[in-house]
Symmetry: C2
Subunit: 474 residues, 2 copies
Amino acid sequence: MAVADGGFRALDEKSLIEYIRATPALSSLLGDDLRALTVKEVGDGNLNFVYIVISSSGGSIVIKQAIPYIRCIGESWPMTKERAYFEALTLREHGRLCPAHVPEVYHFDRPLSLIAMRYLKPPHIILRKGLIAGIEYPLLAEHMSEYMARTLFFTSLLYRSTSEHKREARSNKFDLNREERWREDATADDICNGKGQQQWGSYKAGKQRRGEKNRSKPAIIAEYCGNVELCRLTEQVVFSDPYKISQYNHWTSPYLDQDAETVREDDILKLEVAGLKSMFCERAQALIHGDLHTGSVMVTTDSTQVIDPEFAFYGPMGFDIGALVGNLILAFFSQDGHSDNGKDRKVYKQWILKTIEDTWNLFHKKFISLWNEHKDGNGEAYLADVYKKPELWFLVQEKYIKDLFHDSLGFGAAKMIRRIVGVAHVEDFESITDAERRAYCEHRALEFAKMILKERQRYDTIEQITSALQNIPS
Amino acid sequence: MAVADGGFRALDEKSLIEYIRATPALSSLLGDDLRALTVKEVGDGNLNFVYIVISSSGGSIVIKQAIPYIRCIGESWPMTKERAYFEALTLREHGRLCPAHVPEVYHFDRPLSLIAMRYLKPPHIILRKGLIAGIEYPLLAEHMSEYMARTLFFTSLLYRSTSEHKREARSNKFDLNREERWREDATADDICNGKGQQQWGSYKAGKQRRGEKNRSKPAIIAEYCGNVELCRLTEQVVFSDPYKISQYNHWTSPYLDQDAETVREDDILKLEVAGLKSMFCERAQALIHGDLHTGSVMVTTDSTQVIDPEFAFYGPMGFDIGALVGNLILAFFSQDGHSDNGKDRKVYKQWILKTIEDTWNLFHKKFISLWNEHKDGNGEAYLADVYKKPELWFLVQEKYIKDLFHDSLGFGAAKMIRRIVGVAHVEDFESITDAERRAYCEHRALEFAKMILKERQRYDTIEQITSALQNIPS
């Protein structure tokens, strides 16, 4: 067990069991008999360690621990373990707004950067793996549109006053539970120092110990400014590295050598990427997940759960929508690499296209419904008194959605490009073992993404996008 | 002397003298003989009290105190006196970046919301009054372009890394003085609570008294989130009230009754205003002054000083540039109301147009120079490695400036409109005593502003704007 900064120690399977036994909030979830805990490390992501813990009496939890570097790169690329704090905060906030599609957080230990949350039992698998296996998820679009509409709408100025947005959602309709009070007691100062309440599970004791009573509520946007390191990682790997020579970039060589160079030399593409990067860095539109690709979603036929919001911050909504749609498009292009596994993928490709259409259209519908439902609420972006005339209200919503659609296409395309010529690739393509065939799929995806990034203003509907995908010659 | 919250008391001329005598940082500036202090209240703004203090030995200072309501409205419109904190902070920051055009702050007392700063001696007058009097300021464009270029560039992502932007400008090249260390010791927590260091003048003593050593540095964007009340005032009076029925709106009635109604019924105008409001609320592009009209500038023939940045926050650059340009255009339209005072205003109108052109063109030139000069620095919006090719670098800058130009026109037009049909009008028009004549000037200004707000994308150069102004039929 390594001992590191500020009380942090990287746990292993043995020390994790000791930790659980010493933590009532966890041991009580796992039942009486803690002698027979099964612990399995399953983290297949790029950053963290993830353990499934099952007790003989049938209790189960997942424990996720952030370590102070990027797991898939190693200690040479340090990365603040405070990301766990932002992940826990966002799981709570998004979970409050959309409990059906966000796993419950049971416990957070800040010094250990450790989150205990609901174990998403089998047959839950990572959506990306399901897409590679060619499995249809009939409720995916319904669920993801619900998650995005609710989390994005309720954390935006369409629902909140500017005070609530910049400072604190004091007047929202949801009851605050103990953990949320904890969050409200934390301050930006605590975040920077890595101080503050140690564990949600010991909220009151800690508060009394520190002799604190009425500390100020944290600034919401301000608070997430503290997650700047994770934002910087996105800025680098999505908006910068793919467009320059970087030691981290790679691609299916030699087939895509020319493609990678073309990306680096495409002035118009780089001009568009600059605009998106500025929006990513400057625009606090809503509390976004920040990494909503198909690897951040766990699914069964009837359950859809969004995980891993450690990149969360106040950013542009289109970054979330684009991440999901862009990764579904990558899945679409990768199907030609999987189609000879004894299963015809033509029908499946149509299902992906239909899912892309439904995801956007349902999102659009639900988002507008929420907006109409709350049009006389606290939201200050479009005051009812100013925009009450029905035809103007319609115009305003149409423009908002159109801009959001174009933002989403732009961010989605940028996320596609970086998965083909940047540092972190997707299993959809990586699992195609024949390099030439993989390169064929990737090349087509890359060309499509570049076209969308540069010409997205020409598209008004998601059907125009799926139709363009449909009609790409082999 | 009224006693109010948290140690605050509204000073008057008598208690101010007592305060100065008890405050070494101030009394030392005024010389030895404090028996003969002359104090004069000169606040003609909408919000605060301003005192000029002169000693018999020739020392002088200005004391500005914020009160917890809007002075021109009364106690019925409360407004946080914490605005003085943001004003002091911004005077220091902008003063550091552009010392030639920002008055020096000598002392700040947070509980009293009191700022002591350099007295801008006669013949300094408020620029707006000079414009009404028909006085030419040959260096105005040069100075204001310098102020805007430096304050906006150095607080943007063109100069700063995203860490510096969101957290703290650690690595900038400017030396920190004692007061700036004070600022760095303050935290978002302090700001919300109104706690923290009481006075810059007693920095070290306070620090020792509290036993503090290495507190975390504040989040820059986060910190200014605390100025949300002032931002909300702008949101209301600039982007909302003029477009709806509001008890605070007024205009030159009955002449402009129809004009005011037309503004409230103009759907396209309101759609454009919504976009600008979103940008104002969501986009943290740079630390802007937030209220840069011609009443926030004091001038002589060779000195230009920007005052009153209490509305400062991280917002869109175009809001500052637009405020200045929009108010110069108001001055232009008001000249026809002043032209019979025994002085021909035709030449003066040409000078205003030339000043508008020079202000933008010099800003453009200086801003680009700063950008080129620092292109290999910390700025992360456009990495040199990605955009190094000269023709692409040019393209990028051209697009940035074009977008900024359109933002500035939009915000400038919105600021013009609100000064004609909103709550706070400008002396340029108010000083035209003949109501019909005033309405004539206001109507023309309003029509021009509406056209620009709706059609600003059609304009590429400032000369097209001044030419349009030139060619409006009488």
